[in-house]
Symmetry: C2
Subunit: 215 residues, 2 copies
């Protein structure tokens, strides 16, 4: 298909597609003549993925480029793919090296307590450590005092995530696409549900027993 | 304090502070002369918050502006503050109005199943509906088939979040700051823990029993 049809099928404007092509977020089409390229189904799928990562997942372009590079390896390591989705900040966070090293130790000791089997040099541990260091730096340490509760819920979510993996095992491309979308966009779903549950929890805590909504 | 001291205390470069001032993310200092302003502790705290929302929370500037506007109201509604942190996309997501209405119904019926007491017109329901519509549009529906499992974990996290609220009830400014940081930065902590737990779950699923890491 030509770029106009690709735009229609993926519901992404042509100038945006050209921008993604320039930024290397979409592989070039197959050239049929000097100024006409042909695109396939894989371009439609990739465009939808990129758009979801930008608009719903809020990943910066640099992070998406890294995610896609790792996805496009002959045997993509999904944990690296997903870890890079957490990392892609060009500016470093507020933590200095000493704080970061201390936070990495916290993650190592959490992993040991939970019996988590982690690869030694994946990007996620560093991403987690950066968040921990940021919370300490900001003086908001309550989440860290309750990190095992958070880890419990993370384990439960990961069990649910494995259902998706099992369902898509026969289709490697669909598996990678599904896991990346399910995790990055799923993070936003979890964040929204957390806020709704907070609203309910605080309504209960402050004794609001009636809701005026006609639902 | 003058801007140079503010920069040192908050660990944010002066040009960045000037950018935040121009963007309305930081209230102006008190003018002492035509070109010298004085800043206080509240500027240090606000700067740290803005930086965390940008660098760790990855919120777009427009979303941060909305969050701060709602924080600065005389009696801030924290659920609105946090809901706006989820929303701030200037481009709309891939869902059309019909898909969005259907997704809103899914959220309403989830809330009814869970007995959640929600305000009728908060921004979070809409944010959640946009994520649901995006997942359907992208053909990754497994998280939606298991949304009650996600809601269970969201409730558990919200319970932990209430510990922070209880601890900070005596200090309204510290409460708002803590809840915003704990929620927005906490989302990133949960996302990172989810990836670590996924790594462990898939190691177990695919029978990887040994990790070479010397930890």
């Amino acid at each position: 298909m030509r770029i106009a049809e690709l735009s229609r099928q993926a519901d992404v404007p042509v100038p945006t597609i050209k921008y993604y092509l320039r930024e290397g977020l979409l592989p070039p089409g197959e050239l049929r003549s000097a100024n006409q390229a042909q695109y396939g189904e894989e371009h439609v799928r990739r465009l939808k993925l990129v758009r979801a990562l930008i608009e719903v997942g809020r990943l910066p372009i640099a992070a998406i480029r890294r995610v896609l590079e790792h996805m496009d390896e002959p045997e993509p390591n999904l944990h690296n793919v997903l870890g890079h989705a957490l990392m892609g900040l060009d500016q470093r966070g507020p933590a200095d090296d000493e704080q970061l090293a201390a936070a990495l130790k916290e993650i190592e000791s959490l992993a040991e307590r939970r019996g988590w089997r982690l690869s030694p040099d994946g990007p996620t541990k560093l991403a987690a450590a950066e968040v921990i260091a940021a919370l300490r730096q900001l003086g908001v340490t309550e989440p860290l005092e309750n990190i095992d509760d958070y880890a419990d819920t993370a384990e439960r979510v990961a069990q649910v995530d494995m259902k998706l993996v099992r369902k898509r095992l026969e289709d490697p491309a669909g598996l990678v696409y599904g896991v990346v979308i399910g995790t990055v966009v799923g993070d936003q779903l979890l964040a929204a549900l957390r806020r709704l549950a907070q609203e309910d929890a605080s309504a209960r805590m402050f004794g609001i027993t009636e809701v005026t909504e006609p639902c």
